[in-house]
């Protein structure tokens, strides 16, 4: 069935046809395949980011550790932060968005399937670009002061310290200037980070546009906005957050790149630039970004909790509006990351207050989730346990967040492990617990098999205990004065014992994650087949067979209510308790059969070569910018755009199967793609 890759040049503009095998993945425009690729890539980077974290923890297990050298340590926490945020949590969320969004709104694909493939390829090339610093980076040691020509005029580093790991970007995930500027971070490591993030940003911007249009335009008949699952709402909110915050970081990254490459002076105090401007621009993006990381998980939890409590979501509308409110307020609090940077007192007070207000909508969500569980009939499958873990752990992180918003307290806390504790509680205890919940919940949707529940529960408990052992002590480490990003701490500080506990905790988490991986590999082959509706679920993605057929819905669904599938299966008795309809089992069986046997041919967006080609140009341009002073660099600055623009043209004139279908599908025209900077 696999059609082959090598086709005569004359037919290059015919669209590829493979539906299986390697080329089908390369050329796919199917949102499900794209989602799966996002998922695998993300977990690949999770291992990398996790191993980086473990290295950090080995170094810090005791005072004056000597497992890593300082350069390696600095590179490790930087790449750990960047990897976990941009290459793990964001792409896992993207995996869920891609896979589930069309299914949940009853669509056959997203609004612009080719653009969807394009953002996936840009994402993966961006991630690989970032790490390719190992192969293509200039091995100059990351220390010293460079003059305007880049020559190091002061500073010393033992050449043996310039190791592979030390050659990765350092400077922290927010790359504060001027430390990450041309003078104080000579070499190319930081350039790879800046341009890598720029590329990743383009990917996210494109998918944000795609998802917004998809949600607004591709809903099935009857799927009104307030009938959409909360997960879809959160997808929409996140897309808006991305849409409005990415351009800001794009500009900041351009400015920093120009500072480093072309000698501008935006953030370089020596030339009259203002380092604080970078902080504003970074956090204008950076704070919305943290809600970009958490809201998808909140959406997942809002699906899992009701299903496994066998109750509708308590306060659906409130949860939706609270999500939107968090996003909106989230744009107005960025300077809480800069409370000690010397901004005026009025501004500090104002940002302190605005930060506090976010606790209100977040609280609304928490209490509504509790209300959902209250009086329910809770089934503790692994997905549910992770969701409950999410609620419990996120609250801890949220509350420590509120103690940061007390500005003077933050003057003590900022840049200590107290902050590190806060953000791991919200990111790991929050985002990652939520995402794992989603994986256990939707694994059957993707593979048709259940993840093993026994292993799942062991995974949960090992990870839960390891998580608290790792990150709870960080609160007191921070209050005891352990500053963050510290390669060593003095024995006299009394920080040793708790740090050891943290390190043990980190390895406990790793064990948990390893169990998860085993479970994944095992269950993918040997897991119990799931059938159509393993959770007795509420939403319409469970009305189609598992694994999802390529065309999603054999017949277009028509939606009559929120939690449509549930209402197909259940009525309520006088007391308001659900009663399974007599024909519910028949219904499920029929859906399963019909879903696998469409009554008519279905036209799906065809695969295309051009997304991957177009994406390929970007990293080449990136290398070109970094090495623009060399011949190869100049050549790449020419070749990169050539490939991208060439692919763009190909994209434009690629034949569509049926002309009128072009309109119907609303395929991404070349111009929309070109507009993205």
């Amino acid at each position: 069935m696999t059609t082959t890759a090598s086709r005569p040049a004359s037919t290059i503009f015919r669209r590829p046809r493979s539906t299986e095998g390697f080329w089908s993945w390369i050329t796919t425009t199917d949102h499900k395949k794209i989602g799966i690729m996002y998922g695998y890539a993300a977990f690949f980077f999770f291992i990398i980011g996790g191993i980086e974290a473990l290295l950090l923890r080995i170094q810090l297990a005791g005072p004056n550790g000597s497992f890593l050298n300082a350069g390696e340590y600095n590179a490790m926490f930087t790449t750990h932060g960047v990897t976990m945020i941009f290459l793990f949590v964001m792409p896992v969320s993207a995996a869920f968005f891609n896979y589930l969004l069309p299914l949940m709104i009853g669509a056959r694909d997203v609004a612009f399937p080719r653009m969807n493939a394009l953002s996936w390829w840009i994402f993966i090339f961006g991630g690989l670009f970032l790490y390719s610093v190992i192969f293509f980076g200039d091995p100059t040691p990351p220390a010293g002061i460079a003059d305007s020509s880049g020559a190091i005029v002061a500073g010393n580093l033992d050449p043996t310290d310039a190791t592979l790991l030390a050659g990765l970007p350092d400077g922290g995930w927010f790359l504060y200037q001027p430390n990450a500027g041309p003078a104080y971070s000579p070499g190319t490591a930081v350039d790879f980070a800046l341009i890598g993030l720029q590329i990743l940003g383009i990917a996210s911007l494109i998918s944000a546009i795609n998802f917004i249009v998809t949600v607004f335009n591709m809903r099935a008949e009857g799927m009104r906005l307030l009938r959409m699952p909360v997960f879809v709402w959160m997808t929409l909110v996140v897309a808006f957050l991305l849409l409005f915050s990415l351009p800001i970081i794009a500009v900041a990254l351009f400015m920093a790149t120009f500072d480093r490459q072309f000698g501008t002076l935006f953030f370089q105090a020596t030339g009259g630039g203002d380092p604080v401007l970078w902080q504003h621009m970074f956090w204008l993006f950076g704070h919305p970004e943290v809600y970009i990381l958490i809201l998808p998980a909140m959406g997942i939890v809002s699906e899992v909790l009701p299903t496994n409590s066998r109750k509708p979501l308590f306060g659906y509308a409130a949860i939706v509006f609270a999500g939107a409110a968090i996003a909106f307020l989230g744009f107005g609090v960025w300077a809480h990351h800069m409370f000690s940077s010397g901004i005026p007192a009025v501004a500090q007070a104002a940002f302190g207050l605005s930060t506090m207000t976010i606790a209100v909508p977040t609280g609304i969500k928490i209490f509504n989730w509790m209300g959902t569980m209250w009086g329910g009939r809770l089934r503790f499958n692994t997905a549910m346990m992770f969701s409950i873990g999410f609620v419990a752990m996120f609250v801890i992180g949220g509350l420590s967040g509120v103690t940061h918003s007390i500005v003077p307290s933050d003057w003590q806390q900022t840049d200590t492990y107290y902050i590190v504790a806060h953000f791991h509680y919200v990111l790991f205890g929050g985002a990652i617990f939520g995402l794992f919940s989603g994986i256990y919940y939707w694994f059957p949707k993707i593979t048709g098999r259940m993840l093993n529940e026994k292993l799942g529960k062991v995974h949960f408990w090992v990870q839960f205990i390891g998580f608290n052992l790792t990150f709870a002590p960080m609160h007191w480490l921070g209050l005891q004065g352990m500053v963050r990003r510290t390669w060593r701490y003095a024995p006299e500080t009394g920080l040793g014992p708790w740090n050891l506990a943290v390190t043990i905790g980190a390895f406990t988490i790793a064990t948990g994650v390893a169990i998860f991986w085993f479970n994944w590999i095992y269950s993918k082959r040997k897991g119990e087949p799931s059938g159509l509706d393993p959770w007795d679920a509420r939403t319409i993605e469970w009305t189609i067979p598992n694994p999802t057929p390529a065309y999603n819905f054999a017949t277009p669904p028509v939606i009559h209510s929120l939690d449509d599938f549930w209402h197909q299966k259940y009525t309520e008795d006088e007391e308001g308790r659900p009663v399974r309809k007599d024909d519910a089992d028949d219904l499920v069986a029929r859906l399963d059969h019909d879903g696998r046997n469409p009554k008519s041919p279905i036209h799906m967006p065809a695969p295309s070569y051009f997304p991957i080609l177009m994406a390929l140009g970007l990293p080449l341009i990136g290398y070109g910018i970094i090495y623009h002073t060399t011949l190869v660099g100049l050549a790449l600055l020419f070749i990169g755009p050539l490939i991208t623009i060439g692919a763009l043209i190909g994209w434009g004139i690629e034949p569509l199967e049926e002309p009128e279908e072009h309109q119907e599908h609303g395929e991404g025209g070349e111009l929309v793609g070109a507009g993205a900077h």
Binding site: G71, Y184, P275, V360, G376, I406, Q412, A490, E492
Partner: protein, 360 residues
């Protein structure tokens, strides 16, 4: 294909999950009581001056409010887990979609709590941002990776250890010579950035004489973790003595002694970066102000008990050993240090340490 309720399909019943969950949370809660911060010189919750005190007094009430909220939320979750778990015979739940009154309650109550917290927050912010009128000014300059202290008016320039009178406010006026740094002496106040090209201020005051630890808190490059600080609060009498000691010039060691040899070596090798003041009249005096090639002022080096960014010596390494190691290969001791390995012989080092000891 009917779907059986989950709990009958998987052996781990809900009860066990509840029990494990409860004990894990209990463990977590009880570990809160373990915050005993003895022997933690950098502790941020053991204030030793009015400003840190004020922050502390703001932090703990908020902390306890947070604990109460924490208990309520976790309690609610635990209760649900235990009371509403699926067990044989449990009826399907009523399908409740929400409750407006509850909704309003849990919107308004948090808002009120926050409003209550907000008031003291704002007033403390304004209290602590501007220095008092009779504060003594000390200029702090951040360098990769050490702090320089200048006492304008007193003509004193020192590094790593800031000496100040106890019970007297110091207004730290700060800037940076290179990248961002962040000055933090937890017992005396919160942090403030040192920004190149800009000035920031921080109020510092210690109630009692004593030695207080500090640290650079903003990542500032390779040896950020070794950029530390000390504040020495002293009695008024000790302060006066210290000032006159620091204002005095160093004395040239007797010719022929190792210290004299050391001084000559210094004149040869070290004056590109360091300053030693032997008095205006002395040919041995050298003053540097270049920011790139700038090391600490060594005129009163031996009056300080720590050096190299207050990193050396540390527990387990004596002062003398630390100094020898430092002179032998600074970047090895402190990665990236801008003081280069000058290829000194053991003899040179001995002479230099002898000389440094004369710089009281």
């Amino acid at each position: 294909m009917p779907t059986p309720p989950r709990s009958t399909r998987f052996p781990w019943s809900g009860r066990w999950n509840g029990v494990i969950g409860a004990s894990a949370l209990a463990l977590l809660l009880s570990s809160c009581s373990l915050i005993e911060i003895e022997d933690a010189p950098l502790s941020a919750v053991e204030p030793r001056g009015p400003f840190a005190e004020q922050i502390n007094n703001l932090f703990w009430p908020v902390f306890w409010i947070a604990v109460v909220i924490f208990v309520i939320v976790q309690g609610g979750i635990l209760f649900s887990i235990i009371a509403f778990r699926d067990r044989p015979g449990r009826k399907e739940p009523k399908q409740i979609h929400g409750n407006t009154k509850l909704e309003i309650t849990w919107t308004v109550i948090p808002a009120l709590i926050l409003a209550a917290i907000a008031v003291p927050t704002v007033s403390t912010v304004f209290d602590l941002t501007e220095c008092g009128d009779d504060a003594m000014t000390v200029e702090i300059t951040g360098h990769q990776w050490w702090f320089e202290y200048d006492y304008p008016g007193l003509g004193i320039e020192t590094a790593n250890v800031m000496v100040m009178p106890a019970d007297q406010e110091v207004c730290a006026v700060m800037t940076s010579a290179d990248v961002l740094h962040n000055y933090w002496v937890p017992a005396l106040n919160g942090k403030r950035y040192l920004v190149p090209g800009q000035e920031t201020v921080l109020r510092l005051q210690a109630d009692e004489p004593g030695e207080y630890w500090g640290h650079c808190a903003e990542f500032c490059g390779l040896s950020h973790s070794l950029m530390r600080a000390r504040v020495l609060a002293v009695t008024d009498a000790e302060w006066d003595a210290w000032v006159s000691e620091q204002q005095a010039a160093a004395t040239v060691p007797a010719e022929g002694t190792p210290a004299y040899e050391g001084m000559l070596l210094y004149q040869n090798l070290c004056t590109t970066c360091h300053t030693v003041n032997y008095g205006d009249a002395s040919e041995f005096t050298n003053i540097r102000s270049d920011d790139v090639f700038r090391g600490p002022n060594l005129t009163h080096f031996s009056s300080r008990n720590v050096f190299a960014g207050a990193y050396l010596p540390y527990e387990g390494l004596s002062y003398d050993d630390a100094l020898e190691q430092w002179l032998a290969n600074p970047p090895d001791v402190k990665p990236g240090s801008f003081m280069p390995n000058l290829g000194l012989t053991q003899n040179d080092i001995n002479n230099l340490t002898a000389w440094l000891a004369t710089l009281k």
